[in-house]
Symmetry: C2
Subunit: 360 residues, 2 copies
């Protein structure tokens, strides 16, 4: 192989957009400002100062917040609390592969509802519900969805909440990318519109760093208390050291600076990807996202993306096949993550991808 | 209440025996020496340098080690992998309350086998097995057991392994206190004697600090690979920041200094407790432990420890009732943790406890 693989596969930031010095300084402050709270066992609700900071950011009482070891652990607790074998769940089509795996492992009956560039097809969902589907929960990634990069419109947020109220299901608003908006208008969370009907999850993986593993849930007080009990039985308390570091990072203003750094870099990566794809691979159809990490690409009907995957690997470029995010279909689709690649790598990577495509 | 409560309840160290400055320095080195590995997503096996360090310490291949968010999370994964509803499990009587809760929550059939000052009654276990018990696993805390403070003798370690081989169950050697030996001779782990039959768990909570939430499993390669898969599905990767900090703490020699600090302090606390109990509460029967955090106290038959608990609380002293660690019986027993109290507090706390006892 000529040169190192360029990876459009992993939804993770490159090191150059992580504020490592800011993290180091936050760590020093964490041990200085609250040595007892940082080093001792906490309780399962998380580091109290960070919990309060998150609550204030969302305009809710701290009792509605549970801080966890990454937001996937938060998902796992929520599913463990709410979803039993045979329970029906709505997901977007396509959706995050780990959510699909996790729901299947719990024996859930998963209904996948088509995702459009303005979000889940709420009409199709309404039809499904009127035909007798009785979901306990709908998993929705409202902003810059993984894998599609699409954002749920304001009108569809309303429509979804109305359906949830009428059919009495929980909306699980899974929102790790919300802070990474490059263009367009920020939309209100569904949580803020119906805090008793929505459970919201987010994370500091995309704004601080993934290795710190700090995520959180916001939801109805009683449900949060139940999940806190589950969490106590699982690990007594989540990581106090890393949550104290995140708190210091947030409280000092480093978070806002970090978000600006990430957004500036990713905007440039996305613009480069957009231009390169149009130039090198005009057969590719896509909607450029308004934020986040991911772009969903559809190749002409009949394109064998599994074969493209192999041809691309031989040329030193990686991506994730669309079929990984679907229960069926999507053989001509793929996900490109531009979060971990420099603009130069984007250009070179797209050239290799186009070359692989021509070789099929 | 006259003065703050003195707590013999929580098995946690006091802040004065935590090396906060050493932790801060380790954090600074973590971000400097391995910024990418510390801040990025890892994989579910844990931070590779720490995994290798642990493997070397136990004289095993790294493939046998999985580093987790605290050792309770390690227990949870092990139980999830091995124990289904109706499966039989051996525990010590008394044992750690969270283990009991966790096994019950999984629907396990728990056999509690009497614990003596030299460890689990292996003759009673042999009888139980010969009568048809078919455990999948025996949970054993070999050193300075929680709650009893007892240590499994060399002879009984052998006997237990022989039973495990004959009856084909896994020995789960749960060993968080091993480094905190104040007196007597360190005994070989059961892991080192039969690495295919034993799964070993330990933690840095007692030697670095609890808030860092770093624990680990050592076991057969195939089982560790299965559990790594479970862990990936639960949280992608454990905390890289805290594992990198622990690695730097260990590699620099701070760990060995911290262990000496903790041992010196706890030796003094235990000695004070021993003397104070003999002086103030000669009715109390106990075997002074050779290490760890806990002392098990038996009061005269008929003593109502539930009533003592209330009378003690009124006098500003807390402990955990023995019944919390048992499925039945033990109404005249209690656990005293001396890990979080200064010698002065030990003296005052025992006076209050004796006063509460006289008030019954």
């Amino acid at each position: 192989m000529a040169s190192p693989t360029i990876s459009f596969a992993r939804g993770a930031p490159s090191l150059d957009i992580i504020d490592v010095e800011g993290l180091r300084d936050a760590a020093v402050r964490a041990f200085a400002n609250d040595p007892a709270g940082t080093t001792a066992y906490g309780t399962s609700i998380g580091y109290p100062r960070l919990r309060a900071w998150i609550a204030e950011r969302h305009g809710v009482e701290p009792e509605r917040v549970l801080v966890t070891n990454g937001s996937m652990q938060a998902d796992a607790f929520l599913f463990e609390q709410l979803i039993g074998s045979g329970d029906e769940v709505i997901v977007e089509r396509p959706t995050y592969d780990r959510t699909l795996l996790s729901l299947r492992a719990r024996g859930a009956r998963v209904h996948a509802v088509e995702l459009a560039p303005d979000g889940i097809d709420t009409d199709a969902l309404a039809t499904l519900l009127s035909e007798g589907a009785k979901p306990k929960l709908a998993h929705i990634i409202p902003n810059f969805q993984n894998p599609a990069g699409y954002t749920l419109s304001r009108a569809k947020r309303q429509a979804l909440l109305e359906l949830a109220r009428k059919h009495e299901f929980v909306v699980f608003e899974d929102d790790p990318y919300v802070e990474l908006r490059f263009s367009g208008e920020r939309l209100e969370t569904m949580l803020s519109q119906d805090p008793e009907r929505v459970v919201y999850a987010s994370s500091f993986s995309k704004t601080v760093c993934p290795g710190i593993r700090v995520g959180y849930l916001v939801g109805p007080t009683e449900l949060i208390a139940q999940i806190a009990k589950l969490a106590t039985g699982t690990y007594i308390s989540p990581n106090m050291v890393s949550q104290s570091i995140v708190y210091e990072f947030c409280a000092s203003g480093a978070l806002e600076r970090s978000i600006e750094t990430v957004k500036t870099a990713l905007t440039k990566r996305l613009r480069t990807l957009d231009v390169a794809l149009r130039r090198e691979l005009p057969e590719a159809e896509f909607v450029a996202p308004e934020g986040g990490y991911f772009m969903w690409v559809t190749l002409p009907q009949g394109t064998d993306v599994a074969a493209l995957f192999k041809a691309a690997a031989e040329r030193g470029v990686a991506f994730v096949k669309g079929t990984d995010f679907l229960m069926e279909g999507g053989e001509n689709t793929l996900r490109l993550a531009y979060s971990g690649v420099t603009p130069e790598e984007v250009d070179e990577g797209v050239s290799r991808l186009a070359d692989a495509y021509r070789s099929l």
